[in-house]
């Protein structure tokens, strides 16, 4: 655990007790079984906003607390432990784009609402089934003073419930070029925008978006025209690091639950934790958890310090946390035996969330490649 300021530890403790009292896994299960289309509980989201978590990365002048990404990560980690589903991560991702590239008017319009949790925001990037931030075909054509958007986005996290969408579009160049990408602020209720809420394996709110001649004014451009890729990449890094924190929390909980089971389940007249075949695997998971925590905290801290190695540290963290999530979620099922295969047990819920999160904002393989490129090989 990183060395925390008093404020940070208070917030983390508050998050710990809120998730255990107000948002345990049973709450997620209830939300899932209720057929909730948004993939999160509105009342819980309201409480999250009231506790100020929506404003953690937003500067005080815009109504936030400006505590930064490490603090956001602490909260997300606790939420990850109990599989709390809320649009906090998506909103933080889109908010990051505004913080990085928004002009004064845009910030004044959106940041206070986002800080208060009055608006939900989402980041619409991918168009294929795999994360590929430079693959952009959604077309934004200059028409008069504004732009007309045509194309689609797949599997947008909280895209169905979002009031504000930060949309990456192509204003010049070809599909896989970094140049010619521009970011736009598009209201969720824009006319011509068709949103299809999907039923995903992890029961979260994801949506496919179709843009049919969606018109936006020139003031909707976020950052520089045609030069949006760097902003997008930096935004994604914040989203990836935040997601890594959530995944770390989930993996930690999976590990602790499994460890408890190893200490209580009796077979052959002894607790199964006495078998070395399981002991060594528990020790390996613990080792990986410790290594991964260092990477996740380093990435979040680098973002707060605006360090120049953010991309490499983020790819390191996401690759490591993906591997961790994969391993621990599988072990959780396996070490629980038959009970781990049942829907009534939490193992399956964690397993499903793990795979969805692994695929979001880049698989381990995507981040290994990116890390290699950043390191110059």
């Amino acid at each position: 655990m990183a060395v925390l300021t008093e404020e940070q530890s208070m917030l983390r403790d508050a998050a710990k007790s809120w998730v255990s009292e107000k948002s345990p896994v049973t709450a997620f299960r209830k939300m899932r079984d209720s057929g909730n289309e948004d993939g999160f509980d509105k009342a819980a989201w309201k409480e999250i906003a009231e506790m100020g978590w929506t404003g953690i990365i937003i500067p005080e002048e815009f109504g936030g607390s400006g505590l930064g990404y490490l603090t956001l990560g602490l909260v997300l980690e606790e939420m990850g432990r109990t599989l709390t589903a809320a649009p906090l991560l998506s909103t933080a991702a889109a908010t990051s784009a505004l913080l990085i590239a928004g002009n004064d008017a845009q910030k004044k319009e959106w940041l206070p609402k986002l800080a208060e949790g009055k608006a939900i925001a989402a980041l619409a990037v991918d168009e294929k089934s795999h994360h590929a931030p430079s693959h952009m075909t959604l077309e934004a054509k200059k028409t008069g003073g504004g732009y007309t958007l045509n194309g689609k986005k797949l599997f947008v996290q909280d895209g169905g419930a979002a009031d504000l969408l930060v949309v990456a579009a192509r204003t010049a160049g070809k599909a896989d070029e970094k140049n010619g990408i521009t970011l736009f602020l598009v209201p969720g209720n824009a006319s011509g925008l068709k949103r299809t809420k999907l039923k995903s394996v992890d029961s979260r709110g994801v949506a496919n978006l179709e843009f049919h001649n969606v018109e936006v004014p020139g003031s909707a451009v976020l950052g520089a025209v045609d030069n949006g890729f760097d902003v997008l990449d930096a935004t994604l890094d914040r989203a990836r690091a935040a997601l890594a924190a959530e995944m770390l929390g989930a993996a930690t909980q999976e590990f602790e639950t499994t460890l408890d089971y190893l200490k209580t389940r009796v077979q052959f007249g002894q607790v199964i934790g006495t078998f070395q075949a399981l002991q060594h695997r528990a020790a390996k998971m613990f080792t990986d958890l410790e290594l991964t925590r260092s990477c996740v905290e380093a990435a979040l801290t680098a973002i707060d310090r605006n360090a120049n190695d953010i991309p490499a540290l983020v790819s390191l963290a996401k690759a490591k946390v993906n591997e961790l999530a994969h391993l621990v979620s599988n072990e959780m099922v396996q070490m629980h035996g038959g009970i781990g295969m049942t829907d009534a047990h939490d193992s399956g819920l964690y397993l499903k969330r793990a795979r969805a999160a692994e695929a979001t904002y880049g698989s381990a393989s995507f981040h290994r490649d990116r890390y290699a490129r950043l390191m110059g090989y």
């Binding site: 991918d126 999907l198 995903s200 052959f268 396996q334 009534a344 695929a359």
Partner: protein, 393 residues
Amino acid sequence: MSAAEKLDPELESFRAEARAWLAENFPPSLKDKDVSMTAMAGITLSGDAKLWQERMGAKGWGTPTYPKQYGGGGLTNAQARVLQQEMARIGAKNPIGGMGVMMFGPTLLEYGNEEQKARHVPGIVTGTVRWCQGYSEPNAGSDLAALRTQAVDKGDHYLVNGQKIWTSGAQFADWCFCLVRTDNSKKHEGISFLLIDMKSPGVEVRPIKLISGNSPFCETFFTDVKVPKENLMGPLNGGWTIGKRLLQFERAGLGSGGGSAGRGGAAQGIDEIAKKYVGTDEKGRIAEHQMSARAFALTIARAQAEAKSNAGPNQTTSIMKNAGSKLQQERAELLLEIMGSQGLGWEGEGFTREEIESTRAWLGGKAVTIYGGTAEIQNNIIAKRILGLLDHQ
């Protein structure tokens, strides 16, 4: 197919016979369709599927090596292999399956008395009687011999009380082969093998939902269930040996036939799927999987060839269950990764049926390293029995 087989004139005449019978009796509409497990899922067959099952059942070729006198095919192992080749050639799958065929039938043939065989084998051969496996209990999983379901001698019958769990297909089963405790003073030597009619008063099943969304298995409760004494298979308190023998059949089935990844065909398809979603196999991940699948297929072939020449199973078969189930799970994970967000659907719009099915199969497949003896228990068996590595004292 070995050279020797090819030249054997008797086998070749059987091949001609099988080919002719299949041409006449296999409904082409069932090409590449596997209906063998539908009974366990409570699905009643109709149309061509029903016809195919009836024909194969009557011929006995769904259980090709079972003796003729009980309705089996009465084929030699070599003939059965020829039949399999001929079926594979035209995409015909065996329509007779389930726990009766895979596990209970072979055990019954070895340990059942004449009356039991005459009574129970025919229903297995025709696929008309469905069996379930009453082994596991809440506190007796890996440590199966810790089971506590009691069968008390009441003169002409046993009175059974207790609870089984994870009983696959119990909600649709006609009969249950069950391990019960008949002596409390000994662990392994106090267990008997009992056949229980699932329609007996006092049997209650409650389906359990799996992480994949289906409910293929149940909790099974026995409350004062009267079981006629003639349903005891093998000696009183001699059930452990029989129960273990049945597990060998189960594991062999799970390893070779059961793990679909083990069949070369299925595993080859993954590169086609990959092309659609991700293009080329840049990092050799698909090739890596295909190579493991190939190694497994070659090992099955080698074990079969060796078993034939040495007359009897060899040590190689001990690795099949773990190798096969690992392969199946790796394939499912790889497929999920290949499909990306398209592999993350649960139901409804935005995903194809194939995508949803493979996601559900990925989840359901997590069980293959758990049932039939967990991967850990299998490794313990390999280490102790095959490699001679004993527990530390």
